[in-house]
Symmetry: C2
Subunit: 296 residues, 2 copies
């Protein structure tokens, strides 16, 4: 099968065998925001036309390609959701001379206040992680621009919560007064740990943020350590307010996952990492097989 | 006397009589960031040269003009601090043919975690408010880019806490994904109140922020109401985590103070507003008189 993880900035395509192993992969900076004039077919073919020529099955796509700004909108499936629910909600499309695609829906849920939440793309990775690790998995953390904490029960996503952690770090560093006192430097894990600890000291987060500046101004923190202090503080607030106490699986790129694994450990949580790409590929294979079985 | 409130973006000068009433005032967009080549004397004279020609007493300046990026650095006075402590820590400077100035120090304190906090300029307004309202004042809120909550005891600033509320609102609106779904519109007080209420539902603020986007995406909130919802949420988090339960005085510009007064009321707090300019002028007069008496 061919699976495509198609996000905001990147397109990543995989040839996946029946066991879920990757036979070949390609990526290009052709995320949906880089596709001009809505020519998604052209963008896809510019990366894997030679694969498509040999493929009879529809290719499976996940991520922002199914959003309103993507190729075809695939309406969110509602939690609780199992892999079979996603497979049942795939949106078909055709292009060119008989080429076919299937686009994954995202997931939606509402929190205790009734405020809606959404994910698009992560659900494939989550189901891939469950298939890989078995049904014992109860909590998944998916760090990133918009970090997700996911509650699992008997193989279904019961609910999830999104935290704007990664984006907030970026805008504070690039556009706020906090960035003005920051200097480049190697990772300062001690400053990171201090940030995580600071976030456990009450809920005054808007004050905690300002402290990153004042600690540098008053000589308590080196400019080259401020970004790691802020990073620890934001991740610390995310983990503290996400709650939970059991083992958690962190799905993500190694560098970011390392920060989350370290912070979980500081808070006394058992956490293990699973590379995001492994989760994606396992999930695409699972959804694909469910969709094909469904048709038969 | 002549008093000058000299901040990052604005210079505001006042002629103040012995009762604390304003005889004349002038302002110009000549904040310290707009002064080129360190020519603060030139900037000041471009606004009030004719006043200076007639003035024998040194003029009193407060705000960022006393910071490291200002005219002369005036080291922070440490809390607890009374008006007399600020008057005793004024930094003198001279320029031209015998012109003299006095620059107010800011205040510093440390919070329960030992993290330092600072203010510069607000202390004059706080002491002005105390002089105006009497010693019964126990709590002051000074909203703004970096909002301050101040604890008063027997006329002294015991401590204070800075919240990055105003700046965070601005960077989220201008530089984050939240701004992309916002539209212009008249103030939507219902959305503001919903934001304040949302902030009282637990500590998951990084999740609450994301909810401003998802509520618009899912049709729960109009794009023209999103900014007020976010504003209410941030102010709601600030007030909830600042704590306290007695009456509070809000010092600030009317439009911003209105939001804070409304949020305090929603949280069951008694709050009254005091215009920032009144507080500034009363404070400059008080500090000036203490400094002059000290010299005699």
């Amino acid at each position: 099968m061919i699976g495509v993880d198609w996000g905001i900035t990147q397109l990543r395509a995989y040839q996946i065998d029946s066991s879920g192993a990757v036979l070949a992969s390609r990526s290009a900076p052709k995320g949906i925001m880089a596709v001009s004039g809505g020519d998604f077919a052209g963008a896809l073919e510019s990366v894997i036309a030679d694969w498509l020529d040999r493929e009879a099955e529809p290719i499976l796509m996940s991520g922002m390609i199914g959003s309103r700004q993507g190729w075809v909108e695939a309406a969110y499936a509602t939690c609780p959701a199992r892999p079979a629910d996603v497979a049942a909600a795939l949106v078909e499309l055709t292009w060119g001379s008989g080429r076919r695609g299937l686009i994954c829906p995202g997931l939606t849920c509402r929190d205790a206040d009734g405020v809606p939440d959404v994910m698009r793309g992560e659900e494939v990775q989550i189901f891939g992680a469950l298939a890989w690790q078995g049904d014992g998995t109860a909590a998944i953390c998916h760090p990133g621009t918009h970090s997700k904490h996911v509650t699992i029960q008997s193989g279904a996503v019961i609910g999830f919560t999104t935290f704007m952690t990664g984006e907030l770090f970026a805008v504070l560093r690039e556009h706020s007064i906090l960035g003005r006192t920051m200097a480049e430097g190697p990772v300062d894990w001690k400053a990171f740990d201090e940030g995580v600890a600071r976030a456990q000291q009450g809920s005054a987060w808007l004050h905690h943020l300002f402290g990153a500046r004042t600690r540098v101004l008053m000589g308590d923190l080196l400019p080259a350590s401020e970004a790691d202090y802020l990073s620890g503080m934001l991740i610390g607030h995310e983990l503290a307010s996400a709650g939970g106490n059991g083992a958690v699986t962190v799905i993500g790129a190694p560098e970011l996952a390392e920060r989350y694994l370290r912070a979980f450990k500081q808070l006394g949580r058992v956490a293990r990492g699973l590379p995001g790409e492994t989760a994606t590929v396992k999930g695409l294979r699972l959804i694909h097989d469910l969709a094909i079985n469904r048709k038969r």
